[in-house]
Amino acid sequence: MGRGSILGEFEQLVLLAVARLGGDGYGVTIRKEIASRARRDVTIGAVYATLSRLEEKGYASSWEGEAEPRRGGRARRHYRVEPEGVRALHAARGMVDRMWDGVDFGSGPA
């Protein structure tokens, strides 16, 4: 876990979306993945700011793809999860799981 910090909720969303897209996702598909699965409409700026932070922490990496006319001749930037990122995701999930353990709302407030 980089710098001893736990992944934030939004960082988890973005990193999981990158993971779900199997190392081939880029901005548009990452946003759509979050919109369709998490039902959250996130802005391009927010996604990239988070991706940059994730890269700075070494949780994800990126490379430049092909330039396309419908993108105004700009290249896609593809992202994949790095092993550090996988570890961080597991750590975040483990923390939540440990907190849930033994919690039961089934029978109402005790």
Partner: protein, 889 residues
């Protein structure tokens, strides 16, 4: 056809704020998704780009700030950051030295920025981002317009069940189309019964919105089909009335005394016309007459479609309905249906007002900037030596400009901080103000992240805007001249004065536009208040009662109200009491009426009138005068011939000069199978649709004769004192008759009155404050510029006086020179005010946007204030002792 283009400014902002390292990738994504969306709906795609651009500013800037901060904390050798901090320290030291001067600047900036932040919060909350739907651009309301009924496009209580089916079953571009009716239900909780706003649905709106319930679920297709006894609660009702008890889901709640299963809690923050309680419609849409128009329709644009294609399809459906039904229902001639995004539908009411105010606060802020620039320019005079010395010591011009700009941006930031504080107060004040007229904006209108970011950008932008000119001016010092002449270098003075005079002209121009807008609204407001209402609204208390249909059937309803009004009339201090289904100035219930023997083709539209069900004494209680015939009396009761009373407007429109008393009318058109009513009398017309609208034809029928169908009436109580003081006694009278019967919407007729003109009052008030502020700022600007000009010309004036010029001539000279930019500014301002008056016109009443009296008064006022502001320093100059003046050098 060329490919649609993304909005230029939004794209620029997006590119400009984006992280430079990922700018191409982000911009590429934006363009790619825009192209994809534009294929479906170009307009929606453009809106999407604008929203993306605005919302992306914050994270991108936060990222960059974070980096800069880290860069600074880790590499202290970095030169730029050090100078910036040094400049900042220098600036703050300067502010402390000149506390009062900078205090005034920060205060005016704070007021200007606070005003714009407050109004931006309102715009953001109500117009830009009002709904937390996942895809707000795809959620549309459908409205209808019936030119034959004289009705414009309306979305609220405007569609019939049959029209809903026409849309639901035929529009392939819309998915999950739902319709609902609004009403009131009694929710039984601990304590007294509570009335809640209820909506009755065909279809599950959560499916349409693509949202999940906060807890539990929405209505299932089976429950909708069978009209099952299931309900959902609004989140805030669930919290306030049931303490957010999550174990309630699946349990029974009591509505109108009957058990209903609570299946879910509606998502937080999703407000649909203030609905508290969601219920299913008990019967299917097929059961209703085609012209029972009391429903709202909402749907989601199919994924491959756009709002435009929905409208094309609706056009076709409307045409087919017209062909099939216009023989039977004449109102289908030329009718139309139109879809609009739900945010547009629900913000229509406020839109004009808030955008006018947003324009006004922008002008105020520009005025503050011009004023600050002016003050700084004057100030720069005193700092010439400082600048010259620093230049002489080797500081480059760029370095000086940067230092001065740092100062002005720091001033902007301080003003911004004050402005944010004021915005919190302003938003709270607005919330409190609109809650008095029954609108709840808590949670919608707030100082949130976007507002803070906007404010920060405005503050920094303002700092650059007002700081740039003075900085360039001050840094262009002529070192030798300045140092020799003890700080009063003449070289740059001419261009500085020109700049100052231009700024005064700009200030006057902006102030003119603001004063003109404020003046026009004030003028309208005074006229609205002078309107003859046609009745006596003073000292009348009203409250609404809805009798449960299960409990009061047939004649029981009219009997209840007869008995109740008798009891209320026995309360000491009550003059008369009656009940009616509506009262002026808030008529809402229209019916189509056929007048027997009406003048043929009295108008092109089918006669629609306000129809009001009343009890005896209604006209007396409201002070509506009888003009002809009689009002309802003992002769009229259940079983006797049906009697109607019409207002003067209906008499004039349908019978011209003929006497309508004794003529007949009926509900529906000529062929309608409805009973005839005989016109018994004519009463005076009231402003029954609002104070700013002309009286509308209205007919009145007696509750006893209409029967128990009408279960919801307003009690109207005329008192001889403060009507609010009678609330407990009247409420007791109700509870004595039925301990379970709630009363609600308790208010005085005067309050309803004020509520009708509240948006206008609010806009007038705000614009008036802004205009007053503008006038003060313009006066301060003129005063300071003239003072400085005079002080610079001390020697010259002294010389003139020494050579024999008399005092009045000197004064005239100074004032004339000062007024030149004022007159030019006022002229440009007049043109600008006329130019923007179009945007204001919808808010005006009985005044045009170019009202010569208002605009003339503004011009006179501004010139008068300017003359006064320049006369004081001119007077001082003329009284100067020439010897002293000449020695001044």
């Amino acid at each position: 056809m060329s490919a649609p283009r993304p909005p230029l400014i939004a794209t620029r902002i997006f590119a400009w704020t984006a992280d430079p390292e990922r700018r191409d990738a982000q911009l590429g994504d934006l363009l790619e998704e825009f192209a994809e969306r534009a294929e479906r709906d170009p307009a929606a795609a453009r809106r999407w780009v604008r929203r993306q651009a605005l919302a992306s500013v914050a994270p991108n800037i936060a990222l960059r700030l974070g980096r800069t901060y880290r860069a600074y904390t880790t590499e202290r050798e970095d030169g730029t950051m050090r100078t910036l901090l040094g400049d900042l320290r220098l600036a703050l030291r300067g502010f402390r030295r000149d506390g009062a001067f900078h205090g005034v600047i920060v205060l005016t900036l704070g007021l200007g920025i606070g005003a714009i932040a407050t109004i931006f919060s309102v715009v953001h909350g109500l117009v830009l981002d009002p709904f937390p739907f996942p895809e707000p651009d795809r959620i549309v309301g459908v409205g209808t317009a019936y030119p034959r009924l004289g009705s414009e496009l309306g979305f609220f209580e405007n569609l019939s069940p049959a029209e809903y089916l026409d849309i639901r079953d035929n529009a392939s571009t819309l998915e999950d189309v739902v319709a609902w009716d609004m009403g009131n239900r009694q929710l039984d909780t601990e304590g007294p019964p509570q009335n809640v706003f209820s909506a009755f649905w065909w279809g599950d709106v959560l499916t349409t919105l693509q949202m999940d319930a906060h807890l539990g679920r929405g209505f299932s297709p089976d429950e909708i089909r069978s009209g099952a006894n299931v309900v959902m609660l609004a989140h805030d009702v669930w919290v306030a009335r049931f303490g957010a008890d999550s174990t309630m889901i699946g349990e029974a709640v009591s509505v109108n005394g009957n058990p209903y299963t609570l299946v879910g809690i509606f998502p937080e923050g999703v407000d649909i016309y203030g609905t508290d309680l969601w219920m299913t419609m008990p019967v299917g849409p097929e059961q209703y007459a085609r012209n029972r128009r009391q429903f709202q329709v909402m749907g989601r644009v199919a994924s491959a479609s756009s709002v435009a294609s929905v409208n094309t399809e609706l056009e076709g459906i409307a045409a087919r309905v017209e062909q099939a039904w216009s023989a039977e229902y004449e109102e289908y001639e030329g009718w139309s249906m139109q879809a609009m995004t739900w945010s547009d539908v629900s913000s229509q009411v406020f839109r004009t007002g808030v955008f006018v105010l947003l324009g006004a606060v922008t002008f105020v802020l520009l005025l503050v900037c011009a004023n600050t620039a002016n003050l700084l320019l004057a100030r720069a005079q005193g700092r010439r030596r400082e600048m010259a010395v620093r230049t002489a010591l080797g500081a480059g011009r760029g370095r000086l400009v940067r230092q001065l700009l740092t100062e002005s941006v720091a001033l902007g930031a301080l003003g911004g901080a004050l402005g944010v504080g004021l915005a919190y107060l302003g938003v709270e004040g607005i919330g409190r103000f609109v809650s008095t007229i029954g609108i709840n904006v808590a949670g919608t209108v707030q100082v949130n992240g976007s507002v803070l970011l906007f404010t920060a950008a405005v503050a920094v932008g303002a700092g650059v805007l007002f700081g740039l000119a003075p900085a360039l001016q001050a840094s262009a010092a002529d070192i030798a001249g300045t140092l020799q002449s003890e700080g009063r270098g003449a070289t740059a003075t001419g261009s500085r004065q020109k700049l100052q005079r231009t700024l005064v002209g700009v200030e006057v121009m902006l102030a003119f536009v603001l004063l003109a807008g404020g003046g026009l609204l004030l003028n309208s407001f005074i006229r609205v208040n002078r309107v003859e209402a046609g009745f006596e609204p003073e000292r009348v208390l009203t409250m609404r009662l809805t009798l449960p249909r299960e409990k009061y059937q047939g004649a029981a309803g009219p009997a209840f109200f007869r008995e109740l009004t008798d009891r209320v009339e026995r309360i000491p201090g009550v003059v008369n009491a009656a009940a009616g289904s509506q009262f002026p100035p808030v008529g809402f219930s229209f019916r189509q009426i056929f007048f027997d023997g009406a003048e043929a083709d009295a108008e092109a539209t089918l006669p629609t009138t306000l129809t009001t069900v009343v009890t005896r004494g209604y006209f007396e209680a409201l002070g509506i005068p009888l003009l002809r015939g009689r009002t309802f009396d003992e002769r009229d009761e259940a079983g006797t011939p049906l009697a109607a009373v019409i207002n003067d407007e209906a008499a004039r429109r349908y019978f011209g000069t003929a006497d309508p008393v004794g003529r007949r009318l009926k509900l529906g058109d000529a062929d309608a199978d409805t009973p005839w009513w005989e016109i018994a009398g004519v009463v005076g017309s009231t402003k029954n649709l609002g104070l700013d609208r002309d009286p509308f034809p209205e007919i009145f029928a007696l509750h006893d004769q209409v029967g128990g169908d009408q279960n919801q009436l307003f009690l109207v109580v005329r008192t001889d004192g403060d009507p609010q003081a009678f609330v407990p006694a009247v409420r007791d009278a109700v509870l004595e008759m039925d301990a379970d019967q709630p009363v609600y919407a308790i208010r005085t007729v005067e309050e309803s009155y004020r509520q009708g003109i509240a948006p206008m009052r609010a806009t007038t008030l705000f614009l008036g404050i802004f205009a007053g502020f503008a006038l003060v700022l313009a006066a301060v600007g003129i005063f300071s510029v003239v003072s400085f000009t005079v002080s610079e010309r001390t020697q010259e004036i002294g010389l003139r006086v020494a050579l024999g010029a008399d005092q009045s001539r000197v004064r005239r000279l100074v004032v004339r020179q000062a007024l030149l930019p004022v007159v030019i500014g006022a002229g440009v301002g007049l043109a600008a005010a006329i130019g923007v008056s179009g945007g204001l016109e919808r808010l005006l009443f009985d005044v045009t946007g170019t009202d010569p009296l208002t605009l003339g008064s503004v011009a006179v006022l501004l010139v008068a204030v300017a003359t006064l502001a320049s006369w004081v320093p001119a007077f001082r100059a003329s009284r100067m002792d020439p010897v002293e003046a000449l020695r001044a050098e």
